[in-house]
């Protein structure tokens, strides 16, 4: 008989990594027509980071995503970056980009101020215009200001900056310290169906609510959550590298190493939890890794809810689930002791 169950997993995850500094640097150049080029040393590894980083530069300059072209990943031409690792790109590289774009923007303000008859600190960049705060009708197109900066004032609008998350080294004995600048939080809830006769688990649906600070690009955040859950499903019930007695892998291929396909994917209901982190670029933190964290716990807790069998060892393959169902009454590995 097939039985349904529900289970949840809740988690926290840091942005960036510890042990050593992990800075990023960036350069932003505003072209004469008010479009811009962002130069970054990070690598696009499929997550859409270059789009998000372009949006951060665009926001600071008051222009659109499409107005920013992103050049990346050439050690001869792009500034240093600690890399596409540790869910740090939006937060760390993003902060460097915001700072770099601000420097370029300040050059535009210096040039525009006498043109508009105000001080530079009275200006803002918005909707492709440099305008007076509180008096948006007093404005100039950003392209006009950028062209004048380069061809009139002789101060082309560009900026370079770097950022490193502030941390405090951990005490080696107690671990006390500030290893990361900030963390994200999330909950995933799974519904599964377990076949009591075979132990086979089908993950029916997962609701996921993730914090990433400000979602710079909600569509890409959702994509990350969906992809992370697919890895979590694999970890929960399918994937496992196996070795023979001589330390050689038994299943180093996609025939015998089973991972989720689109047919194994549950229905996903994804929510972004509204949040703002004052230390991130426009309040953003990160989202890449945390998406794969809570899934296996949620699924295994749902298996327990369905058939009363607790899984202590991943993955929860049909064989293991069946064995746990059969032995659940007499060999519960979880010791339950009164205090004292």
């Amino acid at each position: 008989m097939k039985k349904r169950g529900k289970g949840m997993g809740c988690m926290w995850y840091p942005i960036g990594f510890t042990v050593m500094a992990n800075p990023s640097a960036a350069t932003v150049k505003v072209n004469e027509d008010g479009t811009a080029t962002l130069i970054t040393g990070t690598v696009e590894t499929g997550q859409g980071s270059l789009t998000v980083l372009g949006q951060i530069a665009a926001e600071e300059l008051g222009i659109s995503t499409d107005d920013v072209h992103v050049v990346s990943a050439d050690t001869d031409a792009t500034p240093m970056d600690t890399g596409a690792i540790a869910s740090r790109t939006t937060y760390v590289t993003g902060n460097a980009i915001q700072l770099a774009a601000e420097k370029a923007k300040n050059i535009l303000f210096d040039v525009a101020a006498p043109m508009l008859g105000v001080r530079p600190d009275q200006l803002e960049a918005k909707d492709r215009r440099i305008q007076v705060k509180g008096f948006p009708q007093s404005c100039l197109p950003i392209g006009e200001v950028a062209a004048h900066a380069q061809n009139g004032a002789g101060t082309p609008a560009l900026g370079s900056a770097s950022y490193n998350p502030p941390t405090v080294a951990m005490d080696p004995e107690t671990g006390q310290g500030k290893p990361f600048s900030t963390y994200v939080y999330a909950t995933q809830i799974a519904e599964v169906e377990v076949d009591e006769e075979t132990g086979e688990v089908e993950v029916l649906r997962i609701a996921a609510a993730h914090d990433c600070g400000t979602a710079i690009n909600p569509m890409l955040v959702e994509g990350q959550i969906q992809g992370g859950i697919s890895m979590g499903v694999g970890m929960a019930i399918q994937e496992e590298m196996l070795f023979d007695d001589e330390g050689r892998q038994i299943n180093p291929n996609l025939t015998n190493y089973i991972m989720p396909t689109s047919l194994d994917m549950p229905d996903l209901e994804v929510d972004i939890v509204e949040n703002f982190d004052p230390t991130g670029p426009f309040g953003a933190k990160g989202v890449g890794e945390p998406t794969a964290v809570a899934t296996s716990a949620a699924i295994c807790n749902a298996i327990y809810d369905a058939v009363g069998a607790r899984i202590y060892n991943l993955p929860a393959t049909a064989e293991k689930v069946l064995a746990a169902i059969k032995s659940k009454d007499h060999s519960d590995r979880q010791k339950y002791l009164p205090a004292g």
Partner: protein, 463 residues
Amino acid sequence: MTDDVKVADKTDSLTDLKETDEDLRLPSVVEPAHFPVETIDTEARHQTPAVGQRATRPDGRLHGLGQTKYIDDITFPNMLFAKMKRAGISSALIKSVDTSEAEAMPGVAAVLTGREIPVNSYGPSYQDQPVLADERVFHAGDPVAAVAAVTEQIAEEACERIKVEYEPLEPVYDPVEAMKDEIRVHPPHSNIYATKRIKKGDLEKGFAEADRIFEGVYSTQMIEHVPLEPHASIAQWDPNGRVTLWSSLGRITLGRADIARTLDMPINKIRIVGTIVGGNFGGKNEITTEPALALLSRKTGRPVKMVYTREEEFIASTTRHPFIMEYKTGVTNDGMITARKVRLVLDGGAYCSWSETTLGKACILSAGPYNIENLLAEAYCMYTNKTMTGAMRGFGAPQVCFAYESQMDEIAHKLGIDPLELRMKNAFHEGSASPTGQVLQSVVVKDSLEKAAERFGWKEDGQ
């Protein structure tokens, strides 16, 4: 007479040839574009403010149209293809490597062994991994030689003709067994190559305050990243002694420093071009074949490409750490956690890679997003003669989350408290102190619990 005929024939044949040549020419038709030339942009890409827009990715369109150039799509004139010979034995001394038969094969341009690498060790934390194993094999996927040939097939066959003589050593595969240090993977060093400890409050006092104590042992498996695009690189050594590497590496700045170290070259003589990566998930955060390809390119004066097979992706790239996790948690009858003791044992595989970071993150996160005044978390990472473990999406967090959330569920069921309510009672709030004493900001654990529960309909069946 005969000569005249010959001349006449020649002229005729030349005319014929010319005509034939014309005939043979490909039709003078411009090939159609391989993609629709009209670009399609979403409104969101053009709107201000830019932040918060569901802007489409320019690279997404290239992927969809098959126009993205991954390493496998990039080719250079006279490029060679490299393959590596894998040890196939998990722990052994290398007595000899005979490459003569491979080198004599037609189509083989160069063979490289570990002894030819200026500094034959690398790694992001400890430099414990050889580019090509020269004295000792630490796991079965270790490369012991590399071949550059005109085709992948010839390079592969040449690898089979390389003869390596091994003296087998006693291996150790189980991390708990490895902890005893009776068999050392990297003698004279201890197998315990990284440890982490977090201590907060008074554990004994915390357990004394508990009404009930829960204990459990959880474990997780070794997992491969399985990116669609395997690890791939092309090296091109130029006549000025400068090398350019096109690589699927996800962190080119630090990778360049690692390559400079192994090649014993100034950093400014090395250029890395990070190509569009077909999936990383943490598996492409360190150099792999790049130094060997650079040296093969120097030896041959030709560009050299290597793309991992799917099997190599499993046996010769990093993987997710298997964890053994002991959890002991004290709770009051109304579900408040008073103390938690955690002990983590990580199977660190043959090399450190990103284990130190994984261990640190796992240890810091191991208590979960909950206010726990009295805590002790200890973590140990062990060398074993298995495929190296390293960075993978979550850096140890998915493993400890499986343990702490399984135990939270157990506690909820045993105490008769709704799992959502138990978590709400203990969850971090704005200003909570983390296990390392850090005051947390922008904390939304409870919001995420409530939002997911609402979306799922957690309370709908009356539980």
